[in-house]
Amino acid sequence: MKLGVFELTDCGGCALNFLFLYERLFDVLEFYEIEEFHMATSLEGKHFDVGLVTGTVSSHRDLEVLREARNRSDYLIALGTCATHGCLQASVELPLKEKLKAVYGDEGNPMRALDPKPVVEYVTVDLAIPGCPYDKNELFQALIDIAKGIEPVRPDYPVCLECKLNEYECVLVKKGLPCLGPITLGGCNAACPRSGLGCIGCRGPLPGEVNPAGEFEVLKGLGYDEEYIMRKFKTFARWGP
């Protein structure tokens, strides 16, 4: 099978994380041939059985790359919170013109920037794997499943559950830290509570039956002001209670 990796505007983490599979990368290569992946190879491919797209659409160049990737891939995966929810760069709430002016100092837009948006707002994808970055085991499993013709499983539990399974002390209840674990999609094995710190929501909201309003009240009860909580909710996934 042929694999392509396409990077739009992002931190490079979601592309890099793929290389952090280390030896298991060679297991992936048992099934896939990497035909295009700017960070890792000078080759350029034509058609892909599986395409991975990371990053947000932040310029016309990104949009073209994305459309190409969609047209040339049978199965397209939006990889990482930038691609699935917009992540940090999409959370700055100002008109694009003003943002550009603050950064580059004039009102022109010679590089044809667009307001950063996740790829899922422009094209349909076959699978979305969030996370900033996503969990590399999740991608590994998804790629192997797809190669074997199995539809990949999607996690459907909050980070909170992973804390309980690992028997980590609850940082929300015990330390009063602003932790988004109860309403954030699990799959990272509660990486941040492991360090004794609150989940900052990098995997985006848990779809389905969550209770962001409840979380909002809990945090307010702990003494955090509304604006602070709202910002936390919006940082990675632009959502609210």
Partner: protein, 414 residues
């Protein structure tokens, strides 16, 4: 006439170059950073200082910990916080891990294919499997350190103002000391391999680094000591790039491994110092391509230093201890050597909230120098070599800077 390269491959982020030809001569080269803007400083404005390092880390995945540490240092300086030596040592260990992870990625997976004439490390592995495996082993070790100190391989949030969320344990430090020793041989082989690299990319004349080896209170260069970035370095926006360009007293300059070795060789560990001395003459010539060799020597430094730090902490013994940080007012700059060069985080804080923030990344510092190096190569090769060879050489020259393009695109007007 304008020759445009394709988007650079085997570099981090998206960029390309334009070679401007007039009357059959190379007039100019423009490095176009096409990676979109990311608005990081705007993102931090009005935020609680405590949350900021975790967000700033997301500027770059290859060197997230450098961003966390630079951000934390700026905050601590602004709020007048001093941390004990053990905290500083552990942060340095984290940065060392990042150096190992980043340099080995660059040397083995991005540059080595050029040395052997392969399009990538995967194809290189079919012939030189051992070499690629060694690179991967180094990279994994660097990441184990990042996981331990930073909290995750990528974008961990463990480095906080005043200390850490979780402190490393005894056995974990012992393991680091052991593994660092075991991998030293591998790093020494890398130096041998990369000392064979050719001379290209022109010669740099101005070098800038921080005053300490990996963190500092100010900057130094080969013409002066101890200055602040805003006293000498001027940034200007370009119409053809999302990254700005920096000039030092009006001239391009180099940051990164080569600059560090040339300015701070006296701080190297024993084996690294010996290897530096053996290669000193060539490194001092300033060829941009020798940044690769400099990185290989720094791998040796990093492994020796990782062992030293682990040993110091184990010998002295240490208890986890975080310094409390109170919200307040102040201004501070964090200077850190990210693997690819000087990184600056500068904040003004009022009532615990970020009021002003400015970040300059290594690739932005190197941007003007990169154009100079490409111009040199293009002039050298245009008309003397086939176009595909010219383009390949330009890509190799860009690669020698180890640019981190996504890092470079989010400034606030200073």
């Amino acid at each position: 006439m304008i020759i445009e390269t394709r988007e650079f491959t085997r570099v981090e982020g998206n960029g390309k170059a334009e070679i401007v030809i007039e009357e059959n001569e190379v007039k100019d080269v423009r490095v176009k950073i096409v990676e979109g803007p990311r608005f990081f400083e705007l993102l931090t404005l009005g935020r609680d200082f405590w949350d900021v390092p975790d967000l700033e880390a997301r500027i770059c995945a290859i060197c997230y910990l450098s961003h966390s540490v630079a951000s934390v240092l700026a905050i601590e300086r602004a709020l007048g916080v001093e941390v004990p030596e053990k905290t500083e040592l552990l942060r340095e260990l984290g940065l060392i891990g990042e150096l190992i992870e980043s340099h080995s990625l660059h040397l083995y997976l991005l540059v080595a294919p050029d040395l052997f004439g392969y399009p990538d490390a995967i194809r290189l592995a079919t012939k030189h499997g051992e070499l690629v495996k060694e690179g991967i082993a180094l990279k994994a070790f660097g990441n184990r350190i990042r996981d331990l100190i930073g909290g995750r391989e990528i974008h961990g949030i463990n480095v906080k103002p005043g200390g850490f969320g979780r402190w490393p344990g005894w056995e974990e430090l012992e393991a680091i000391e052991r593994e660092a020793k075991a991998l030293l041989t591998v790093a020494k082989r890398a130096v041998r391999l990369f000392s064979g690299i050719g001379e290209y990319g022109g010669k740099a004349e101005l070098f800038v680094a921080t005053d300490g080896y990996l963190t500092g209170d100010s900057l130094i260069s080969n013409v002066e000591r101890n200055f602040h970035y805003f006293e000498r370095i001027e940034e200007r926006p370009l119409v053809y790039s999302f990254a700005k360009q920096s000039l030092y007293s009006g001239k391009p300059f180099l940051v990164g491994s080569l600059a560090r070795l040339l300015l701070k060789a006296e701080s190297l560990t024993p084996t690294a110092k010996r290897l530096f001395e053996e290669n000193r003459e060539r490194l001092e010539a300033g060829w941009v391509s020798y940044n690769n060799l400099a990185q290989a020597i720094e791998l040796v430094y990093a492994l020796e230093r990782a062992g030293e730090i682990a040993k110091t902490l184990l010998d002295k013994g240490f208890e986890p201890e975080n310094v409390p940080v109170e919200a307040g007012d102040g201004e501070g700059i964090g200077y850190v050597e990210a693997p690819r060069g000087v990184l600056v985080h500068h904040y003004r804080i009022a009532g615990g909230k970020i009021e002003y923030s400015n970040i300059i990344t290594p690739t932005a510092f190197n941007h003007a120098m990169m154009e100079g190096a490409l111009l040199w190569e293009a002039r050298n090769l245009y008309g003397n070599a086939p176009e595909d060879e010219l383009l390949r050489r330009l890509e190799e020259t860009v690669r020698a800077f180890d640019p981190c393009i996504s890092c470079s695109v989010h400034f606030v007007r200073g």
